[in-house]
Symmetry: D2
């Protein structure tokens, strides 16, 4: 029996537990403290999807980058390191063109808007960022009707999609079709659970047969790729547009990339401008993301391996039970024995071992996000730290 | 055991049965044949919510009206018979002001837009006209996000509303509240089922306590009033804005009235104009509706009584079973024995007795709409007609 | 030397004189009194562009129409007499399809919106209805930027258009072209002055060469045709979409027709619906317009002839000077000698001769609108009436 | 007689000369080369409004800043150095609240949208950034109708504004007032010319008396303040909202500040989000701008003084004529004798003296932008450089 039963797990916890999740997804809220510790390279932080650089670390990385390959500024998103970054992403995704955007919200919204054209209906996951966390931008600014499927689930299947479309088409007098379908993968609100690639392929085929455009909110697509073994290009080939974030695990302070056909992407510069997103110079984000992109696949492969080792090791420690999320990526659930003083343990882990873990959520589980900082200490020393601090 | 179990009945039939319903709601589709029969006053038609006048009948009624009280044209919706009509509706609803609109869709949309102000979220019944039958106008034109509740049900309860709002407020980072709640009553897609008045009062109280504005899509409000015994004014007192149709049972060719506070209604003339709804002269609709309005409550009271008599009488005929919709208004479900040749029976009813009934829906039931034409023949002669034609 | 020097005349009077013009364009304002006089067929009214029927006259015409050819109602704008009317207008304009709309404002706005697609800039006459009298619908609802040309003039020339486009394209960093050009012809605010057909042909050619779509606000196009001798089809051939009003001289209470390519018009039904303009039954307008349409060209040809005769005749009367508007249609300017008591004269004309004329505008001129009512009395009797009443 | 006659000068050159101006305003176009020269502190560049840092210079300044006062990152625009910056701007402008925005376009548009509420009409200068350089965002996204005044002029007067409003109110049937007035000061497209403060005060008073909200596009407000002697607070007191850019002379790579009443600014976070402008971390811009802000008034005071000295000195050199723009700020026009080989002179200035000047515009004048780089060399050495290179 698995620790988490996918569909049930998400269903039973996600909806009632949301207030408790807020610290868990703290970086999307407004209260996170960013560490200024300069000895950052020995720290292990079991939250966030990548390393978060404090300002002077950030600046220092930029200097290292420039030393190898001088950073050239873009001008209003054109040329310089932005041009290099866009080229890199067209190669990674196999799409004709890529364009830098200030935020993932803008990337998602403009993609959906362009793909759906005059049609209003856009199908999304009920738990998706587009539906829950973009402040109703789709309706308020882009005149779209989001149709949420798979309430409380990570994803909808091809057959659920088809059924939903058939139901819609039969129940509205003025039905004029589906403008687009958007899929978030992996799904942040579902603890990073993935949409199975086979399901994606079926959805993609169905959409193409029915002339429905398909967008991928792949903010954390490299995580999906690392845990599923499906390449960025394979994922991208199923979609008309693909958005990838520059700040989840690519180190930047912000920014997003949208990839797609030239006919779609060529409309974006004006769209970015009229929505007020055309920033004069974006090299601080682009240079960092370009630099991290070079090794991201290797780094994440190591994190996947390390996550497996840690899971096995932690489960051998008395009082600890760790399990992956079904179809999961980098988030794992850890349960501690009831008699463990969690506050003390967290405190000691941080002070004595430079290891930070979240507080338990409402379900009592502590969610561990595996990211590149888990490579900063050896498996042995991390396991040792947990063993020491739990037995106190 | 009731013939129809409300919640279950609607749930089980409404969604799968929709294609079959299209003839049933034919007047909303595009193919209805309008009778030109001049002997119309002895015909009984068990469909539509009122009498539908063919052109020369219509013209003749206008002449009768003018003979008693000369019809004065409005000018772009101002003055004349439009002014009289608006005055009548402020009296009926107890609201400060009323304004003529070309369509109910515009009345609903403009009311919701005005009440919700800058907020995007508007809660509606999933089966409501606003959600299913206004071609996504709320999203496409008015930048609103409709949040559907009570899927497959006639209505949501106060407690379901409250729970839905609490869930929304806990699951979105940028939650900024509910702009408005809209209630359709009675609900056309739910076979005219009503929202219980006690539920409306509770919802109204909850909304006022939480500063949420409340709109009534009362296209067929006079039907609800006739079957529930709750007055138009009582219903209206629970809502901030009330829309009532002029062509369901008030005889007009089109048009709608929106009632509410002066502060809301005073914005409407400009809104009507910019959405292209400011028509030069509307007296043909206003004069007819004003005329029918005078007696509508008495007429419908008779229809209610007649519907009860017919139900009792029809149920005494072997092979016929008739039952009201739970919380229903003027639509009743009739089942015929399996051995009845429905086509023949319909044909004979029409030819021999000037009685028209619908074809059976997918569930096999024939929905009978009670309207003022059921007063055109006596109970005895109608029952006689059914008895004769079923036994053939 | 002409009485009115076109460009200068309009320039010098139109802008400063606007408050004075309000009675002149009274039917667009909200205060007009509609006569209920039953002896209407001997009245001559030198205002409006056609005969305005009071309610019982209107009803009586509908009965006459039905007697010859039974009126069949449309259902939500489909079929019946609406279908006949649309067919008639496709023949008249030579366009692929025609569609009924509730108002000219909606027809203009939806046409411009469809033609201009994603582009914002739409070029219009500064004095046009679209720019001045549609309550900023283009900006408020349709996200268009109207670029007004020819301030205070009836029209812009092809060369002015070209210059304006070149200037725009050179002065904006994000210039993305012209979405559409809209031309009103004749121009109501310019006293019915026409755009010369040769200018229209040049503009049309320029637009086609530059892939710019061209819309005609031909609300009063039959007036232009009658006074210029250019057929409706010739005018229409220069434009992508053509709107013609049903209530200026076609007798209806409201309504408009939009003609164009099937690819454009086929989008309109949904657009009408989401803007709240889809009215259940529109036969009262359609039947009247269809009936008047049959003879409109003959009737207006007689009005043109009569207008010439009246102009000549009136100019022979001492104290009266009448002149056509340069490039004008049915509006003529009349100046009376300073010693004439205008109020008395208007009063006597009405009471003794059943002739109504406007009050003088700010410039002192009385604008005479020639319409079919000038055929209700003979030239001799009209001239006699003016002669008698001026000399009192 | 002045070198440039303000109104005539701008009128005669601005419109025809626009293509030639593009290099002049190059930083708004897409082709500018950003220097990577590390010996930047001795360079004098007579273009841009401030010093433009190349990436490694930028990084180095951030390190200096952090050394004095550790830079704390914001989280999605909240807290950290963004909080400090917003506080600083509330003090500078005297407004209740300030908020960081990714771009000036977003700041302008959101301010105008909030101030004008439901009204469509917003009055702007025809030469303003809002009207010409924001890609019709006001119409395409915010449903506003921009009404341009003062074509080809730097500004409109209070009396022109009043006249325009009176004309609008008299010429539209559905006139519903002016939503807001926006003033750009100084005006970039008018070579940095200012709106005289006395005119601003009169406009402000007029707007308050008429309940019309007033926005200041003060992207370069510190330039206006330095050249006019009117403080930021004095300017701000005349307006409801004030936008100030962070990258014209405050060194940042991008970003803007919008100041105003708490009731207006408190709406902005959600607005920024739905338009896709909510970036995760913005400390690179905020820290730089905060640092430069500390001395900006002193630095610009020196630039003003230096500009005067250079003007006097350059005018003493044979073959050079320099003059300020009437009501101008930091842009001066330089004419060279016809026999000067401008290309050679520019080349020598750069190579031998590290002084860069623009190419001549279409009018033949070379526009000199005075900025803090003119303090990098002494007056004597700059004058010497011009003298040497002109006589070659």
């Amino acid at each position: 029996m698995t620790f988490f039963n996918r569909r049930n797990f998400i269903k039973s916890t996600a909806l009632t537990a949301i207030p408790a999740l807020i610290p868990f997804t703290a970086y999307s809220s407004q209260t996170i403290e960013v560490s200024n510790n300069s000895a950052a390279d020995t720290e292990v932080k079991f939250f966030f999807d990548g390393k978060i650089y404090d300002p002077m670390e950030y600046v220092s990385v930029l200097q290292q980058i420039d030393a190898k390959h001088p950073i050239e500024s873009d001008v209003y998103g054109n040329g310089g390191v932005i041009g290099e970054l866009e080229k890199k992403f067209t190669e990674a995704t196999g799409k004709e063109r890529a364009i830098y955007m200030p935020t993932g919200t803008l990337a998602n919204q403009l993609a959906i808007d362009a793909l759906s054209d005059d049609k209003t209906k856009v199908i999304v996951q009920q738990m998706s960022h587009v539906f829950c966390d973009e402040a109703d931008a789709a309706q308020a600014v882009f005149n779209k009707r989001l149709v949420p499927l798979a309430e409380g689930e990570a994803y909808f299947t091809k057959s659920e999609l088809q059924k939903a479309i058939e139901k819609l088409s039969g129940s509205e007098y003025y039905y004029d079709g589906i403008g687009a379908v958007s899929i978030e993968n992996p799904v942040r609100k579902a603890y990073g659970a993935m949409v199975p690639f086979d399901e994606i392929k079926q959805i993609s085929e169905y959409c193409r047969q029915n002339s429905i455009k398909l967008h991928l909110d792949g903010a954390r697509l490299y995580l999906a790729s690392a845990w599923s073994g499906v390449s960025i290009k394979e994922y991208s080939s199923c979609f008309d547009t693909v958005y990838i974030s520059l700040y989840k695990y690519l180190g930047a302070n912000g920014g997003a990339i949208l990839c797609g056909d030239a006919s779609v992407i060529s409309k974006m510069q004006r769209q970015i401008k009229i929505h007020g997103g055309n920033i004069m110079s974006n090299w601080t984000n682009a240079a960092m993301a370009l630099y991290k992109l070079e090794n991201i696949e290797g780094v994440l492969a190591n994190v996947v391996k390390r996550a497996a080792e840690l899971t096995i090791g932690l489960n051998k420690i008395k009082g600890i039970h760790v399990a992956a999320i079904p179809d999961g990526t980098n988030i794992y659930g850890m349960e501690l024995s009831e008699n463990v003083n969690t506050d003390k343990m967290r405190d000691r882990l941080k002070k004595e071992f430079k290891i930070e873990i979240r507080q338990p959520g409402e379900s009592g589980k502590i969610m561990l996000s595996m990211n590149e900082t888990v490579l900063n200490q050896s498996v042995t020393s991390i396991l040792n730290a947990f063993e020491k601090t739990i037995s106190s």
